[in-house]
Symmetry: C2
Subunit: 448 residues, 2 copies
């Protein structure tokens, strides 16, 4: 194969796929190809759910039908080089493809902490690879003591899932005072921890892992206080780092944290090359400072900007709001924007309002479950900075409503009187509606 | 009792209660009393659910604990007069209460069409009264053929509920070409009808009721084509009219449709008297023309404005967006803003975008169900005018996200790139997220 396409996208996960679809929508006359290394692409956010709910990596795949539907070609191949002068990419097998516009969406790779013993057998990271994850699944099935290093979102989701219908002793080891702490303020973190604890997951916080011990195979984890916890499987889930090897080698400029530098239009230092997703640099919507956040939803958002701007600037990136959700059993936890702590750390003078109500009315309707919402506003301007919630699964969309309000810089007063729709089986009553009331409580504070 | 309060609220349903709570929040130093005629207040939107899901009106009550919590006094009594010169209200039992500020939240009463025979025994309307509704429940239990006149939201919810776990033959008679037509564009109406039909409810559309027939008791309904349908119970659910008797008698100005006239601040023609909810006049957020819409959620929104403005204008009413949802079984149907038809009727040049995806990712996650979203934008400005959805129950909050976008006059381009959060168990994938994709399809049209 030696070919030429108008638009070449490297990477076929959330960002690459969305960028390709968006460029197809904006530039229907252009030829578009995705070059990706995976035969089958995993749904990134679904990976933890392979281990309890889905029971197989093959149930967690991005369907390729969407490529055909959008007239996007596909080449499975490992891109090894980008030649920016000849505007050509090259794969490991020697395929060379010429591009007019290139989108780099190479994602991220698991971060491995500098812990001695992390190379031992039965120590896993979260590689987005079907065979690797199937192997991990087989190992989880046959293990009796599992340690998960890192109590962030992914670590906690893995703990919850691996614990389902399985006779296994799971321990999460977290360095910070509580799990999920990068995501939520302490109260909600504790409630999240409690759900997992009730399900029998052990949680050790304020604990640094000093070494992974064992002969050839892992036998346990040694904490910095000297304590050793037994394990026949260890999963490291401490986050990811941008996958920027080929970009870097091609001479494309990287940022100070090693991500691909992009401007407001998702354009790299080469005007014909765009980047989006985990591999590219992000700034905060609020502070415009660099942001470490990596989420499939951010990746898709950036892809919708990159894909639209290939031949003309149609959209601009205002930075990462940061919206994410998880669920443990029937309980959703979600956040949008700044946490209370982050807001304070960034010098905001803040006011919070809280409201809790059942997600049905009356609360005795089937499926009725409380949903608690905390909204954070700036004193003075009254503009929303963030929101957190815990409770019923309807919170999964409610957090997106909060995100829309953040995008539009809505004030507490406007959020208290925005017109929501309600229904007995679907939402809180209009009297008790959480967003209105949390905003109203903040208005009360703001008026002081 | 002969007393004086700073703030007197007439009516203890959604609007009255919310207005009282809001005035308490804004004016903590003021004394607040609700005067209402009902011993127990029904949750208005929950009324249809008494007939299948809840099984008793007593399970559908607004808890009075909220009054005590907010330091709001309560008098149960039927207000018969407002004397605006002495700033006093009077109840049937002769209680006189002096007010500094008065909020009228007297709601609505069922509209009864001028059909001969509507006075017959076993013909019911939807009176918000516990005993009346218990009596209706008893009658439903012992009936074999029920006709519901009116296939709007309430009629359809009643049909769905009365049909649950009960050996009864239910027929909905609707004047328009399909049920739910005032709420949705035709495609979604048909899907809604189909759910009820599958459950065994009969639906007759394009049918005008000419008479309710029978001797003393109802025996059937005669349609204008001469056909008679057998019935031992008839429920009229064609809507409500504002309850404005005492306001009118006191000299407060009414609007041309008989509702209490209010300004942007929910103030009536008397500067110390405010009104909110079904009893007061509404205008459209879009056209600023009079709106007939009556919803508990609108009532609460107006109450939050009225309660805040009693002593100072803190908030303004921009008019009715119109956001509502219903659910038949596991399927939610919802709308915010203008329908396609309404937008066209009001002279808008519109573009629609549609997207459908499961509410989980992968779709095989438990509870995975499709959710279809239609967004309507104005050509040229690209501003959102409305949205409709049908599918998973997460739509109940997603419609509120659409409403927030309407409030903020977001454009299709901004909605396509707004940052949402996603999670396998809670939402569509970020690639397929319905709001982004429906907006993106509209962007494609808008660019033409």
């Amino acid at each position: 194969m030696d070919n030429s396409y108008d638009v070449v996208v490297i990477g076929g996960s959330a960002a690459g796929l969305t960028a390709a679809i968006t460029s197809r929508r904006f530039y229907p006359e252009k030829s578009v190809i995705i070059v990706r290394k995976e035969e089958k692409v995993l749904i990134p956010c679904g990976i933890p759910y392979i281990y309890g709910t889905l029971e197989s990596p093959l149930k967690n795949l991005v369907p390729d039908a969407v490529l055909e539907k959008n007239n996007i070609e596909l080449l499975v191949g490992n891109v090894t080089a980008i030649d920016i002068s000849s505007k050509t990419i090259e794969t490991k097998k020697g395929n060379r493809i010429k591009y007019e516009k290139l989108i780099i969406a190479t994602g991220s790779i698991p971060a491995v902490p500098p812990i001695s013993g992390s190379e031992k057998e039965n120590v896993y990271v979260i590689n987005k690879d079907v065979n690797y994850l199937q192997n991990l699944l087989d190992k989880v099935e046959s293990s009796s003591d599992m340690i998960i290093i890192g109590g962030g979102f992914i670590g906690m989701e893995f703990a919850d899932e691996c614990n389902k219908n399985r006779d296994i002793n799971i321990t999460v080891v977290e360095m910070l005072p509580c799990c999920l702490m990068i995501a939520f303020d302490e109260d909600i973190c504790r409630q999240g921890e409690d759900i997992l604890k009730k399900n029998g997951v052990n949680i050790i916080t304020n604990a640094k892992v000093e070494a992974i011990v064992g002969d050839v195979k892992v036998e346990g984890v040694k904490l910095s206080d000297g304590k050793i916890i037994k394990a026949d499987i260890v999963l490291i889930g401490i986050g990811s780092k941008p996958n920027t090897e080929i970009a870097k080698n091609s001479g494309i400029e990287l940022g100070e944290k090693g991500s691909i530098k992009v401007n407001r239009y998702m354009q790299t230092s080469d005007e014909d090359i765009f980047a989006c997703g985990d591999c590219c640099e992000k700034i905060s919507f609020f502070t415009k400072k660099l942001s470490n956040m990596m989420l499939a939803s951010i990746a898709c958002n950036e892809a919708r900007i990159a894909g639209a701007n290939l031949y003309k600037n149609n959209r601009a990136n205002e930075g990462v709001v940061g919206v994410f959700a998880t669920a443990f059993g029937e309980t959703a936890l979600a956040r949008a924007g700044l946490s209370l702590q982050e807001a304070k750390e960034n010098g905001y003078d803040v006011v919070a309002g809280t409201a809790e109500a059942p997600n049905t009315h009356p609360g005795c309707m089937p499926g009725g479950k409380n949903l608690k919402v905390i909204l954070i506003f700036e004193r003075g301007t009254g503009i929303i900075l963030g929101g957190q919630l815990i409770g019923s699964k309807s919170g999964g969309e409610m957090i997106n409503l909060i995100s829309a309000c953040i995008h539009e810089k809505m004030t507490a007063n406007n959020m208290a009187t925005f017109q929501m729709g309600t229904h007995p089986a679907l939402t809180a009553s209009p009297v008790a509606y959480q967003i209105s009331n949390a905003a109203e409580m903040a208005v009360k504070e703001l008026r002081k």
